[in-house]
Symmetry: D2
Subunit: 475 residues, 4 copies
């Protein structure tokens, strides 16, 4: 669980046109629970007014029996969230539901808008008020602006005001709309149920759970509108659409292994990264063991290509949940302790290749390496199936501050010394990109390379909006 | 419990400058729980940012142990609510907390704005969005309007846009502000704690519970600002301030008997109404019994002046809560059944004077009269310590629709027949007004007389805002 | 609320032969909630096995929706409890359900067995084990004893082993049995529903709530068996049945005013005590005010006979519950504070007669008298509608230890001085007995007189069973 | 998750002599949560009386914050439970706490007593009563029997009355006692904390989580007593102690892979079974995939010895818990559906060796095979790392009725046809036994072979005690 240090972002799910849409949405969100454990919510309509139910906690906590029995609306959008902008509180739970001159709109958002604070300032200067500290609320103000509303087709116009990462689901009284930003930072796909109902999801694993058929990805820069007339597509970023910048970290760590993301299966991509890692960093050792759970795929590839038997060094608890559900550092430490147990007999007296998917702060990795050593491992060769993370993300991944990243300003040797391992090797950037589909120039690798596809003049932190408020007041 | 048919409105409470402000606010709201059982909430600050905690349910449900242990802010406003505009949902729980160009503002409101829908339409046409269906949100939009913000003292200007009833508590980052509308529909008073902290409350009973000293009422048309510099007052409706129109129903039924409201003690006012009722409607009977709980005061006065012994015909459950906490009619019926039990031996074979404070729909009153008859009362003479209610209220009391009021379009004889009592007499309007302090022309008696102090062109229902949304959409 | 110092005991309710028996039992227990707020429970059967549901808390907490929807058994017994023997924990919640050679038995008990510890010792010496610390469990051991089981009719034989107070409800697989001890300490009555179903309840108010017709009291020393064959009665204590010793405190304080207990209406008995008090202790004063809630009846009688107007000095909160629900002294103090508020204008400048039903520890009474004085009462004449309580109760009322009773070892003058009132007078024992039905020699007045109807050699405390365990171990 | 069809049994944990014993016990139970998810509980003492806290649900549900803050006793025993005898209700949650002539005793039990119903009958005939439907309660009755108590050392005598499987933890006021039955069916081990405190646990993984040092297993037929005087051992089944009959299913499926059980590491034993399976049943295929989670170890062994690459065919949800937490079949089906997702790209077009640890009913296995086929697997060769299960277990494993076992009365060919796989091979009994430590004659393999180490004349079902009650009544 190396990435207990990385906060997940969000997952989207929507159903248009099914009598059990609320129940299906619950399942679809459940399948994407790994994308956000802080809050869950839905907005639902049957054509006359939108109702909202959202709360803090896991999907199974928020969707209690009474909600499932009560809500029978056939058009539903849902959201699971780990905050990237805005703190953890109920007001920020999505989807957000607004009333404006055009009626009601609900919005669910995965990603992060880098110009949200700027736009918010501007709107506040014009007398607008905000009820949340989420970057998502600004989208609604743009939609409600009279000059925008007067346009024949306001949405493309509004979206062109946004900078950053945004996969979006809108629910109107009479239609559901799915949007993916021109860079396609976050995944979003379209599926179909046996009854013909249309489904939108962040990941294909959410289609699988409800037996929906995957049709295609929503394209970067595409708006898909689903209503009584069917499904309509339009591209809003033409003709100046930029090169795609899909988040490679979805493949490295975020997405579920069973999902197909950006045109490839996540598990197979990770196995391939493990194979490439074995090619780049072969090791003379007795056993390959993964750090559970994410690195299991890469360890398989490493074992196969490296010609070393695959073993198991840790067991994990099925009852602890992922550690991210306890946001305080103090609790996270306990959570790690109760989640992993070393299989002493498995590693004692062995020379180990330990495969990790990525190293962020390094603190939990260090703890795990120490536990293996204490259990009697004679050598520990850490192999990381991605390059060193040295730069922050402004597009929806909640890495810690750059200063807390173990690899920032440190050589691999320094890191090896800090982690107290016998050797340490990372997968190269090129090696990693050789394992993914669609061309290496279609990915955002900023966290590894520092090359941001969108200029980020004023780096925004997760609490930009809150800080903004305080700033306003302290003048 | 005649008035289980009347929905209560709201109660306000605020503390400026006490380390236990959150705990005191909880107690102050608890003492005013009779003013609203649907939701409770607080906003609190220590000068750097405002935090909000609100939820559906009673004060003791919403203020759980963890909240009381966590929040230690010295400046707090709180609210208990029974919806008069807007339905029962969490988004509508007050205080509402907003972010705007000026920072953050929290608002708690008791009353009802008759021009809220009109103003909302107007603002939506200018691109504003609304997150609640409460009439209170419009106040924030007025405050955030740039032309208003540019004024040296925006609040009086903004308040002059509002029509209707509003006792308000604002919380800014650095100050608390209390406002009472120029008519003074709803009560609001100012007190002081031993440590010098200022307290604002709807009713004086909330001062008593925390041993705060009552200083004075907030005046109709007054703004009171409390900050580091102390307490400042300004009148915002001069020089055209109208004659006060204080809600006489606060005295008849709403307020707690121990409170002093509009310059008089509520209990003593009710006893006096009972005395006046005995003068206007003397009866030859064996026993005076009140309909619990509110009519107990009036029954005492009636018994004393009428020269008839006071008895007890009903017991009430201490465990049922007021019936209003179950908004559905179906549940209300059960609630009434489990709350009142007739003391058969007390009424059997007796000629009874039954004293009620008011009759609204008449259905529960009829049920109670039937129960007395079934228990063996030989005569039932119903005496009501207020005039017939024949008109709706647009200023914060949630009477049922006019058509559901038993007295609308019915003579006293008709009502007597419907209630199946041997005689029925109401207190006269003049008689009632002779019992209250400060001059009979200082009160709003519209529900009895139909004379509204503010023109109500487009009568607004409780769900005006929700309907508004649907209308918008159906165009 | 003088008697917040007295812990209530228990309430019983049972229905034989109604499809809605569980729901009716919930209502019947709810109506008797004043008899016990610590736990609630039911046992139910439809002839094949008994199921149990019980828990800590109020009736409405324990009987959640899912229980009411699930249990449809037509034969049900229920219990609300305030512990008299045994501490507050779930294992002690009644009814208790046992398995033995004869099958299953459930027992619900109101009262206190003075020889429970003795019998328990004896049975433990014979190898029996106990799972609760309640005195009730011993009854089951007696029933299961082989020599008892061999008798043609074991129950009378078993009951004759018990000493003390016991109103009992048994549930067997095929029948319900109601028992009242030969002294008749605690009330128990029999009623009938419209469909012919038989109902057993501690108080008649529980019959009223479900529209059951009161038939008669269960007699002291009577066993009533209800099964398919109908209702059968037998007397088990003949021919040496003692004189009845019905608890007069049920009339003074415990029972609901609307109930008929021991052949009289509780409210009217209390009014009569108030009248007698006025005769014995007339006062020159301005106003009679009751200490809510129990003394309201007596205050009416005092006012009428004493020729003084009845007023209201306190308001009470509808939302606080009775203070007993918070067993810790620390919390009780808060509870009292938030439950009562003085109506200052009502008492200021007045010479008051304050009517109390009883004074136990005196601490809360003192607090209330102080609050009246602080509010400006010029004279306070406390009149108590029962004699001084100077002796403990071993028959089901949880008075504090004798040493904590304010009247133990103190003259009335001493008490007056302690309470800081201008005068203090109690109702005489004879005066009290002149107000009750059925003959003054039919009542237990031991708490006033010290004359116990059953010898109590080894006074038992509430935690006798727990202490017993420790004693065993420390040998 | 093949064994979602097998109900787990119980886990024990105890600490003697640590100030944080309650907290440590919570962690020790948490680490053994896989042994029982129905209820959790502890009994604790500090030498004066034993307190109990237990409830339905997972360890983290039952041990809430307030319990952990309140209980500070240094001697604690704990239990997690899946019912093998007795249904799921609170009364059956262990440890059970009893009062008897010797004081108090708490008991926690892992296993199943085959003569419990017989003994219970006998004791009931002697007038004993039972409050639970658990087989464990009979042990207490044996302990409380006067003739047993009179013995100088009653416990060995009592234990010799018990037939079947029992690992036991007793808590007395002054000592903790650990017992393992003469056959040693269930594991039990002894460890030590840094401060010298003694720890008892079912599995060593519970020692690991609290950094306790493993000392040794409790021996079959051994009583270990821990008190102020230290740790004492005695053998109670000498000289006729039978050959050990340790449950081989602990190694096949039950125990945690990181635990050492019966003298060997569980993970390594499973890997070895996988290797042996590859030797016995080699396959020409493209990929080996395990059915998660238990078969992962065996699949590693199969892959290595079989010379086939190891792949991943399924993902599992971290948020669903094991399916056993929903005992109803209806819910189990949903649970399976939401817990497993096939990685389509991983298996599509592949000839698969699918490794399972065991097959019980076969229904969920069939479902998983179908899912693989649907995802495009061209061949499915199922290899099961244990022999066919054809016989019930009476020693603590809650297999379904024999008639529901897929292998009962069916040939391997029949099963293959039912499961719709291309080939099916089981590990041989001898092969399995060649992989475990300590000699093949030290294990109970009755579920595979039908050879029960203890005669089971009257097979007992899980609800023996409940049925018993009904039978009694129907006579």
């Amino acid at each position: 669980m190396p990435n207990s240090e990385i906060q997940h972002h969000c997952g989207l799910f929507g159903v248009y046109g099914h009598p059990e849409a609320v129940h299906l949405t619950r399942l679809g969100l459940f399948a994407q629970q790994h994308r956000g454990q802080e809050s869950a919510g839905i907005c639902a309509t049957q054509g006359r007014g939108i109702v909202r139910h959202a709360g803090l906690g896991l999907v199974n906590d928020v969707f209690n029996k009474s909600i499932l029995e009560t809500l029978r609306n056939p058009i539903v959008i849902g959201h699971v969230r780990y905050s990237t902008t805005g703190s953890c509180n109920e007001a920020n739970a999505q989807p957000l539901l607004f009333n404006y001159a055009g009626g009601q709109i609900a919005i669910a958002h995965n990603g992060n808008l880098v110009n949200a604070a700027l736009l918010r300032d501007e709107y506040e200067q014009h007398g607008h008020i905000f009820l949340t500290t989420s970057d998502t609320e600004i989208i609604m103000h743009l939609l409600a602006k009279p000059s925008h509303m007067q346009k024949r087709n306001p949405l493309p116009h509004v979206l062109n005001h946004l900078q950053g990462a945004y996969s979006l689901l809108f629910l109107f009284n009479d239609r559901m709309v799915a949007v993916r930003d021109p860079f396609g930072f976050r995944p979003l796909c379209l599926g179909r149920l046996a009854n013909g109902a249309t489904v939108i999801a962040s990941e294909t694993c959410a289609l699988d759970i409800i037996d929906a058929h995957y049709e295609r990805d929503v394209q970067p820069g595409e708006i898909i509108t689903i209503d009584r007339g069917g499904v309509r597509s339009e591209m809003f970023a033409e003709p100046t659409r930029p090169m795609a910048a899909q988040c490679i970290f979805e493949l490295v760590y975020f997405a579920d292994p069973s999902s197909n993301v950006f045109g490839q299966n996540v598990h197979l991509a990770r196995v391939e990264m493990g194979r490439q890692l074995a090619r780049e960093a072969p090791t003379d050792a007795d056993l390959v063991i993964p750090v559970p759970n994410c690195a299991r795929c890469a360890a398989m590839g490493y074992s196969e290509t490296g010609g070393l038997p695959l073993g198991r060094g840790f067991t994990t608890s099925h009852y602890a949940g992922r550690s991210f559900i306890m946001p305080e550092q103090h609790l996270r430490d306990i959570a790690v302790k109760i989640k992993l147990n070393v299989i002493r007999e498995s590693v004692c007296g062995k020379r180990l290749v330990v495969v990790e998917d990525s190293v962020v702060r390094g603190t939990t990795t260090k703890g795990k390496m120490g536990a293996l050593r204490k259990a009697g491992a004679t050598e520990i060769h850490l192999r990381v199936a991605s390059p060193p993370i040295r730069h922050g993300c402004y597009f929806g991944i909640d890495f810690p501050n750059q200063s807390e990243l173990i690899a920032t300003g440190r050589s691999v040797e320094d890191i090896q010394r800090y982690l107290e391992v016998d050797s340490l090797q990372y997968l190269s950037l090129d090696g990693m990109l050789s394992c993914v589909a669609g061309g290496k120039d279609k990915y955002c690798t900023a966290c590894f390379s520092g090359g941001y596809p969108v200029p980020v003049d004023h780096p925004v932190s997760k609490f930009a909006m809150e800080k903004h408020q305080f700033r306003m007041f302290e003048q």
